[in-house]
């Protein structure tokens, strides 16, 4: 018996370095959760916790004083609140995309990063979920948005895209969390089996839901995973489409655009990949996981970013084309003078032009670097690029929301937006929450899907190798794919 090795003649490359064994993987991933946390982890964790504390303080102040503590005004009634919401939701897209869509397309390279990306998704959606809840004037009445039968005979308005948002985001969160947890079950079992501390054993045992690695378990597990992947796949497309409806269904020039659903999805994937990459590069170097997350993975992600970034660039161009082609003077004014025009055009330019140009430089120009193989395989370049892309994607949402709002139909009502300390503290605070959760995840949960990575090792795909001289093949003796070996390891 021999394993299926990459066929070099057709360009296949090994996903993991040759010679990696199942045990190597189990060790490499599990020990991070078993060994004492490195000093770097503690420093980062304290920083993150501090920022999360800032979030708590900012939220307390906000709820005490009201949304007037933000810079929002008339006409800019939404600003950083919804910008942050859309941005975090967008970041949450990479996880499901990598887990679900790439899974269905049998992209095996995803196994090294999917756990990581899914966790990021869940935490990002949690950060995003804060904003719709607190951006309301009277958050203690937020429950009016849920279809709860009540004595006041109130019922939500299902015509409102905000209602669609609520359902889209909560569905997305639920499915993503389920998907993530399902994928974790065999790995929790591995940790349980390795645990020496009884508490640890009990906790992981509880989370492993009695996983024994039997063939039946594996069959059900694979089936469940596949079904969840199938459910998640449309969600990847639907969530940001629906978020984009908040804008697309309105009458506001700059919002009222049919291109928004695909444009938002592409942007979301774009920013999600950028965020995964940023985090992955740090974690990879801190925990020395170069064997598990290889340059091939990174390069593939950069290609994805190049593709989605260009898609987004196309959408930007299309918005302009439609604004011109439609002959709608209000829309044309928004794009031509509030976005494109800078101070070089004198008084014609809107005051938020710089946000638009920040967006264009980060989102359209930066990913073009990745046409070059040298660039897309350079760790420093991709690290800086990924951060710039996330900045650019934040600006994209800010441009859509604030610059469309600040100068719309009647020039008498034109205004400006500038953030307050609370705006900034809340945004930074969500990073605190995100990184706190993320660092806890790294420390306590296998951050790489042990079982799945094992599944893409050549050993996991044993083939019958006919003895020299034998002419007939042994196709019927091919072992079922899967990690049967894992559970016996």
């Amino acid at each position: 018996m021999s394993a299926h090795a990459p066929v070099e003649e057709i360009g296949e490359r090994p996903l993991l370095p040759p010679g990696t064994t199942f045990h190597d993987i189990t060790e490499d991933v599990s020990r991070i959760t078993e060994n004492p946390a490195p000093r770097g982890w503690w420093i980062l964790f304290m920083l993150a916790l501090g920022l999360a504390g800032l979030l708590g303080a900012a939220l307390t102040y906000l709820l005490t004083v009201g949304v007037g503590s933000w810079g929002n005004n008339s006409p800019v009634a939404w600003a950083w609140d919804i910008t942050n919401f859309v941005w975090w939701i967008g970041i949450g897209h990479a996880g499901t995309l990598i887990s679900a869509i790439l899974f269905l397309f049998r992209q095996k390279w995803r196994t090294s990063i999917n756990r990581f990306a899914e966790a990021m998704t869940i935490f990002a959606v949690m950060c995003a979920g804060i904003f719709p809840g607190i951006h309301t004037g009277r958050p203690w009445f937020d429950y009016y948005m849920f279809p709860l039968p009540n004595q006041m005979e109130m019922w939500p308005n299902f015509k409102s895209p905000l209602m669609w948002d609520i359902f889209a985001v909560s569905t997305y969160f639920t499915v993503s969390a389920l998907f993530w947890f399902t994928g974790l079950i065999p790995d929790f079992a591995t940790l349980r089996d390795r645990a020496k501390n009884p508490i640890r054993k009990w906790v992981y045992g509880f989370l492993a839901l009695g996983w024994r690695g039997s063939n039946r378990h594996w069959r059900n597990y694979e089936r469940a995973y596949l079904i969840l992947a199938a459910i998640s796949t449309p969600l990847v497309l639907s969530v940001h489409s629906i978020v984009s409806f908040d804008f697309a269904t309105s009458v506001l020039p700059g919002w009222h655009t049919t291109i928004f659903p695909p444009y938002f999805v592409a942007g979301a994937v774009f920013s999600g990949f950028a965020m995964v990459l940023t985090l992955l590069l740090i974690t990879r170097s801190v925990f020395g996981m170069h064997n598990l997350v290889t340059m091939k993975h990174l390069e593939l992600m950069n290609k994805f970013m190049l593709a989605t970034g260009t898609l987004v660039g196309y959408a930007y161009a299309m918005e302009f084309f439609i604004a011109w082609y439609s002959g709608n003077p209000y829309e044309w004014h928004v794009f031509r003078y509030n976005r494109l025009a800078g101070p070089w055009e004198g008084d014609n330019a809107g005051p938020l032009w710089w946000a638009y140009w920040a967006m264009i430089s980060c989102n359209v120009l930066v990913p073009q670097l990745f046409w070059s193989k040298r660039m897309r395989t350079s760790i420093p370049v991709m690290f800086v690029a990924s951060i710039l892309i996330n900045i650019g994607m934040w600006f994209e949402r800010f441009v859509i929301i604030a610059t469309s709002l600040h100068r719309d139909f009647l020039p008498s009502s034109w205004g400006y937006f500038s953030p307050t300390m609370i705006d900034i503290a809340l945004y930074l605070g969500t990073f605190g929450l995100f990184f706190t959760l993320f660092l806890l995840f790294i420390r306590w949960i296998p951050m790489i899907a042990i079982a799945e990575v094992k599944g893409v090792l050549p050993q996991a795909d044993p083939h019958y190798a006919p003895p020299p001289g034998s002419s007939s093949g042994g196709t019927d003796s091919v072992a079922p794919q899967g990690g049967a070996e894992v559970s016996h390891a």
Partner: protein, 1043 residues
């Protein structure tokens, strides 16, 4: 509620005191029943019983439209309900308020004894139902938490004003002290006894004054007012030999030449003038006659903003311009105005565009007898006199100008009168001085040392509504009543006599100027039986009737009911006397200022179109109100022209130091398109320390630059300070960006293309119909409901802001403070958008447009609300359900008109304190709230409702009366307050209603109709009437048409 004012932070012992005083008062109720004068008397505090006494009195004579207040004769316990008083049903009382030389009739709404809303009195000729911003905002002056609440003097300790009994006692003592001070003058016939009061329009006041002078012949009454109409009076005296009021009958004029006269803004009689002006602008077709307005002035006033042609000329040159007009009339048209021609001297057209002589005089001459020249109050007397002559020469006298006798022939020139007083005070010739209102220490000319002189007066008493600098310099003080608290009477410019009826018992035991004079006259304190203002006014009315009407009580009641006693009649037009006018003109021209330049700038003062002379300086509605032209809130600015600004390198908000003689003030500069070069315009009333919590140090005090004899127009220099000052505005984009928003056309264009407005905005026949079925609001579909709609005639709207304040008052709209305005969080439900049109920064045309909720039938705000908090009513109104609103603000984002306002903070009670809420609002301010409108809390969206509370009240009234809706049953606050009747409201389904007829006019259009919102508010395009012979606006007009 009132009780809590006093009880709010009182200690245990004051509570005991109060209980005692209350008990004592109750036992004295029998005496009160005998004493008919106790209405404004001292014996009642304002407790529940006080309220009941008022209610009882009102109940006796209540009518449906307007009611009469009579003195208290009984006390009713509230255990039995009072007939005619229905909780929740407001009552209306007619009264009157003073406006320089004019009086403005009002009808005030009262809810359970609290005045909550001011409207104009349709029966009063100065109002005709319209009001101005000051009338609308006067409620907040009444409910000002910083009013003076207690009297004091040297011997009466100045106590914390917590206790009504103490207030009463201290006032009685101060009155007593005053009487002993006055008694000392009996021996010398009043020598050394002086009074200082603003010019009065009150016959009762003058009667009491004359009686005092009768027995104290050497006592003297002095006049002082920071803003007054004396120049006009002087001009009339010169021209006619007698002081008369010349009243422009603008409604009859075809051509109006305003010489620095802001008759649509701060000049006297602006409410009536606005109505008359709009009367000549409200055209139904291109061939309708229309008036034409030329304005010559240094700045861009509200009148200038409405002009067909605006000439920016320094104020000191306006007289020269008028002389040139007179010369031109004589030389070209052979019209020698009253024969003053020879006195006019050499023809000097420098600085005046030729067309402003040729074309304007041609227009005036062609409209002889139908033209009118109006001169602003701040122009010197000789300009007024010359204008009288020109008006006579053009045959306008008696046609477009009518004349009325002045009320007070003894009135003195305010500045001279005050100077005499101060000189006498400094010499020690004044032993007793009564200052009846105002703040002369602050607003006397800068070169008069009023405070120093006051220290030489043995007994000085200041009657005033608040404790200001003058109070501090005096040794006794009595709180003055607000106009809505006191009886009085006022005669308007045309001679109409009206009774000022109190709406509420004096909140702080104050007394009116009239009552204080009466204390002096009768040598008795009020407590000892000096008769009340009510009786004084009745006496006066009896005098005026001279026994001709047998039943006085009936006349009295009808006077109170209608608000006016007898309309005044114009007098025979007097003839202009050539000699004095010629002489005055020559003297005036000789005094003409040096040539203006960068180093010798003209400095012009104007009463503020918000705070006036500073009397409203603690009124948050007015402090926050965006200026008509600059849209600046919470500040006054030094306006300069763009060329002058460039010369000094200044831009908006740069601090400058303006020096006049030895005095200098620092003010932020404001570059005002249309302003005259080398001229600085400053507005009065701002930047004072002691006005109260809201107005304290808001803006900049320029009073220090006004010197004797140069109170209005002077020269000085300007120096940039190099520092910046932050100015808050509600609108900082002045251009319409070529969009069809406030659509206008010239009369010519209108004639050629009657549907220009629809063409410029959107022709609805070209718009594809909606894909889905739209709601049907036709008569049959929505009966018994009505299709409410509103039209706003941009031709009639002058942008005077009255609707803005009226809406604020009606709908409990909070003021938010300067910082929040700067953040863009103003709460106005209706706002006046102001656009500059044209390319010439020195000659902008102005378009104003009131914008409230357009009540779209297809409202974009409604379908985006996740909680159904904004929904359509059966009559098609876009309703806001505050209870349900959670504040996502999505509706505001999706509103194309940006009329939705969000309570980002708990604005009520907010004073830049983020934690403050409604509870922190002073109790007295809460008395203003309209009980029929929810006070919105933090986190809730709000917007114009078409005054839905009035619609529903009218519905209830109709149901009770069992009748059908009649056109005019419902009038929203904005429409009711509008002096020009630019806003019409009613049922669009009733084709005979005024609103439907107005909406069907060919110049009607709907704002942003192309969005398919189907707004219920319909605008009527503005028609301008430029003189085709003038080039000035031709280019502007053309560029605008391309838009």
């Amino acid at each position: 509620m009132w009780r809590s004012l006093d009880e709010k932070d009182q200690s245990a012992e004051t509570r005991t005191e109060q209980a005692q005083s209350e008990f004592g008062r109750t036992t004295a109720a029998g005496d009160e029943m005998v004493d008919a004068s106790s209405l404004t008397g001292e014996s009642s505090g304002f407790g529940r019983r006080g309220f009941m006494t008022l209610s009882g009195a009102t109940a006796a004579v209540v009518g449906l439209q307007a009611c009469i207040r009579r003195p208290v004769e009984m006390i009713l316990p509230y255990t039995d309900s009072v007939e005619h008083i229905v909780p929740g049903v407001p009552m209306h009382f007619a009264t009157v308020t003073a406006r320089r030389t004019d009086a403005l009739g009002l009808v005030v709404t009262s809810h359970q004894g609290r005045p909550t809303k001011v409207e104009g009195n349709p029966a009063h000729p100065s109002s005709r139902g319209g009001t101005d911003v000051w009338a609308q905002a006067s409620l907040l002056d009444l409910y000002d938490p910083d009013r003076s609440t207690i009297a004091f003097s040297k011997s009466v300790k100045d106590l914390a004003p917590t206790n009504p009994a103490l207030r009463r006692a201290s006032r009685a003592q101060v009155e007593q002290e005053l009487l002993s001070a006055v008694a000392a003058h009996k021996a010398n016939a009043g020598a050394g006894l002086r009074f200082l009061a603003p010019p009065s329009l009150s016959p009762s006041w003058m009667r009491v004054r004359d009686q005092i002078l009768g027995f104290l012949p050497k006592a003297q009454f002095h006049t002082h007012a920071s803003v007054h109409d004396w120049n006009a009076r002087e001009g009339a005296t010169v021209a006619f030999g007698q002081p008369v009021h010349a009243i422009a009958r603008i409604e009859r004029a075809k051509v109006i030449l305003s010489l620095d006269c802001d008759f649509l803004g701060t000049d006297t009689g602006s409410v009536a003038s606005s109505a008359a002006f709009a009367h000549g602008r409200r055209v139904r077709s291109g061939s309708d006659p229309m008036n034409r307005l030329y304005v010559v002035e240094p700045t861009l006033s509200n009148t200038g903003a409405n002009a067909d042609h605006h000439l920016r000329l320094p104020a000191s040159q306006v007289g020269r311009y008028l002389r040139a007009i007179a010369q031109h009339l004589k030389e070209v048209h052979q019209i020698d105005s009253a024969g003053v021609g020879p006195a006019l001297g050499k023809y000097d057209p420098s600085g005046i565009p030729n067309e402003w002589l040729t074309a304007v005089t041609k227009d005036l001459v062609e409209n002889r007898g139908r033209s009118v020249l109006m001169v602003g109050a701040r122009q010197p007397g000789w300009v007024h006199a010359l204008a009288h002559a020109v008006n006579e020469g053009l045959g306008n006298t008696g046609r477009t100008v009518s004349y009325a006798a002045v009320q007070d022939s003894q009135e003195e020139h305010p500045e001279q009168s005050l100077r005499t007083l101060v000189q006498d005070m400094s010499k020690g010739a004044v032993r007793t001085l009564l200052i009846l209102g105002g703040d002369p220490v602050h607003d006397s000319p800068a070169d008069l040392d009023m405070a120093g002189a006051l220290s030489k007066v043995a007994f000085s008493l200041h009657l005033s509504d608040r404790r200001n600098g003058t109070t501090a310099a005096c040794n006794a003080h009595i709180p003055e009543t607000h106009e809505l608290e006191a009886w009085g009477d006022l005669v308007s410019r045309d001679g109409t006599y009206a009774v000022q009826q109190p709406l509420v018992e004096p909140l702080f035991h104050g007394m009116s100027s009239l009552e204080l004079l009466n204390v002096v006259r009768s040598a008795k304190t009020v407590a000892d039986g000096a008769i009340s203002g009510h009786d004084l006014v009745q006496e006066t009315l009896k005098f005026r009737m001279a026994g001709r009407v047998p039943n006085f009580q009936r006349v009295w009641r009808s006077t109170l009911h209608r608000g006016v006693f007898r309309r005044g009649r114009p007098i025979q037009p007097p003839t202009v006397m050539t000699g004095p006018v010629a002489q005055a003109v020559q003297t005036g021209l000789a005094q003409a200022a040096k040539k203006l330049s960068k180093d010798n700038l003209e400095v012009v003062f104007a009463p503020c179109n918000k705070l006036f002379d500073g009397r409203h300086a603690n009124n948050p509605w007015l402090l926050e109100l965006p200026d008509n032209v600059t849209k600046v809130c919470w500040d006054n600015v030094a306006m300069i022209s763009p060329p002058t600004a460039r010369e000094f390198g200044l831009s908006n908000g740069d601090m400058v130091e303006i020096t006049v003689g030895p005095n200098a003030v620092e003010v932020p500069a404001w570059v005002q398109p249309g302003h005259a070069d080398n001229s600085v315009s400053l507005s009065l009333g701002w930047g004072r320390e002691g006005v109260g919590r809201y107005g304290k140090n808001q803006g900049f005090d320029v009073q220090g630059l006004r010197r004797n004899g140069q109170m209005w127009i002077t020269t000085g220099s300007l120096k940039p300070k190099g520092t910046r000052y932050f100015i808050a505005q509600t609108q900082d984009h002045d251009s319409m960006e070529g969009r069809p928003i406030a659509i206008d056309a010239t009369q010519e264009q209108y004639k050629n293309d009657p549907i220009f407005a629809k063409k410029k905005s959107v022709d609805m026949t070209q718009v594809a119909p909606p894909l889905w079925k739209t709601e049907d609001y036709s008569k049959d579909a929505i009966a018994p409901f009505h299709k409410w709609g509103m039209t706003i005639d941009l031709s009639a709207c002058t942008g005077c802001n009255t609707c803005v304040v009226a809406c604020q008052s009606e709908n409990n709209i909070p003021s938010v403070g300067k910082r929040q305005i700067a953040r863009g969080r103003e709460m106005y439900w209706i706002r006046i958008d102001r656009y500059f049109v044209g390319d010439d920064e020195n000659n902008p045309q102005v378009s104003v447009q009131p914008v409230g909720c357009q009540q779209c039938e297809q409202a974009p705000c409604e379908n985006v609300c996740p909680v159904n908090a904004t929904v359509h009513s059966p009559d098609g109104l876009n309703d806001m359900v505050y209870n349900r609103c959670i504040g996502t603000r999505y509706c505001a984002n999706n509103c194309p008109y940006k009329v939705r306002r969000f309570n980002y903070r708990a604005w009520h009670g907010y004073l830049d304190d983020p934690m403050a809420n409604y509870d922190e609002l002073p109790e007295i301010r809460k008395m203003q709230y309209n009980p029929n409108v929810t006070v919105r809390m933090r986190g809730v969206m709000e917007k114009c409702t078409y005054c839905v509370q009035r619609i529903r009240r009218s519905h209830i009234t109709r149901e009770n009366e069992g009748r059908e809706y009649r056109d005019g049953d419902v009038t929203p606050a904005c429409a009711q307050a509008c002096p020009t009747r630019a806003i019409t409201f009613g049922d669009l389904n009733d084709s005979n209603s005024r609103v439907a007829r107005s909406a069907s006019m060919d110049r009607s259009y709907r704002l942003l109709a192309e969005l398919g919102t189907r707004p219920r508010t319909i605008y009527l395009g503005k028609i301008r009437n430029p003189n085709p012979a003038m080039e000035t606006h031709a280019s502007n007009q053309a560029s605008e048409n391309q838009a």
